[in-house]
């Protein structure tokens, strides 16, 4: 057997193995999502104080940038934001909740094709949220966490707040029962 033949057979085995694993995982995930009820998905949302999330997010959205004289700096200071959200643990909850929100939007899409746009927006937002949290992890390793935390964390929280609002609004317009259960959890 030549060297290229060995690589060919090894490559085929690796390809079959990778494709089998991906198929199994995707199939299991799709099946689980299809069998989950709205209530099951809502239960996946971990509790985080919505009033604090809103306060931090609104501080970023409502604060006039020019009035502060320092672009990028918000009304709440770093330690306050960190304390309110519960540090990295709180941000991890937001990250996990963002995935649950995407699954909730996907669940709605089974009945309302229009929910596709909501799910798409949520997926894009979730990617951005993850990006901010990854930057914070990087900043922690390089010792720049204190400088980076207010900017990245507040943006991540604002994105999460927007995701929640978008999904809540869609539910409110389409299904009051789903809206009620989601409002309690988010």
């Amino acid at each position: 057997m030549t060297h290229s033949s060995i690589v060919f057979w090894f490559g085929n085995l690796a390809l079959v193995f990778v494709l089998s694993v991906v198929t199994l995982r995707s199939f299991t995930r799709a099946r689980r999502a299809a069998r989950s009820s709205w209530e099951d998905l809502v239960k996946r949302l971990q509790w985080i104080d919505p009033a604090k999330v809103e306060k931090i997010a609104r501080d970023l959205i409502d604060e006039p940038v020019e009035a502060k004289g320092e672009p990028g700096k918000s009304g709440l200071d770093a330690s306050k934001i960190r304390e309110m959200i519960g540090g990295f643990d709180g941000l991890e909850i937001l990250k996990n909740n963002s995935k649950a929100l995407i699954d909730l939007a996907a669940h709605l899409q089974r009945w309302y094709p229009e929910a596709l746009k909501v799910a798409e927006e949520l997926r894009l937002d979730a990617r951005e949220l993850e990006w901010y949290i990854d930057r914070l992890r990087g900043a922690e390793k390089t010792g720049n966490l204190e400088i980076s935390f207010p900017f990245y964390a507040q943006h991540a929280i604002a994105i999460y707040y927007r995701m929640g609002r978008e999904l809540l609004t869609f539910c409110e317009r389409t299904d009051p029962m789903m809206f009620a259960s989601l409002q309690k959890a988010i």
Partner: protein, 260 residues
Amino acid sequence: MHLSRLDFIFWAATFVGHVALLCTLIGRNRVNKYPIFTTLIAVNIARTVTLYCVFNFGTEKQYSHTYWSLAILDVALQFGVVYELAARTFRPLGVWARDLRNDFAGLICLSLIVATCLTWLATPPARKVLDIVVIKGKFFSSVCMIELFVGLLALSATAGLQWRTHASRISQAFGVYSIVCVWIDIAHNYFGFRSDNHIFFILSRIRVCTYLCCLCFWIVTLGPDEPPLRQMTDEMRSRLSEFRPKIRQDLEKFRSRRLP
């Protein structure tokens, strides 16, 4: 070229299966939703008739040329069906999801790179250049096809996108057929590809049997209508469209802030 009675039965069964499926697609009005898939089935009917005529009235060389020319068309249409299924899953409202469009393009590139590398490494035990080209070509298309199907499944599961019933049924059968084809084409790379090769006939019959099962599956599952979707009322839609610009404005506002 000698064909046994069993081979003729398979040939006839494939023809009848294709005709029955085409009747289902036209009769149940699936042509508008799946035009490429319908074309593939219609081309396969024409292919069977053409090959039968060339087999009986033409030379072996003519048969070989016709067979491989139509096989290329068949593979091209199969890739078209993959695109059609992806389009029905990832753009149910007529527009590709922004985040998935790039992922889908990436998936195509990755599939082509992996399939090209494996095909380049393949050294099938065949003497004629044409046989090597045929074995490698079939292997390349099989690997691409299975990669695309698995990739689409993974993308839709990650994004939480639901496959519509008919698209799901078409892809399930195509997925199974592609898996069998990959194994058969890997075997061809080991055993070679000669008309007197007993293993070649066994592998070909396995391929045809699998395809016949797929045809039966499609005939049964593409007949019934898909469950209807609920539609938003015009009022719901207008209230939602009023809300979206407001929330987008908020987002743009805080995105515009500069990094520290």
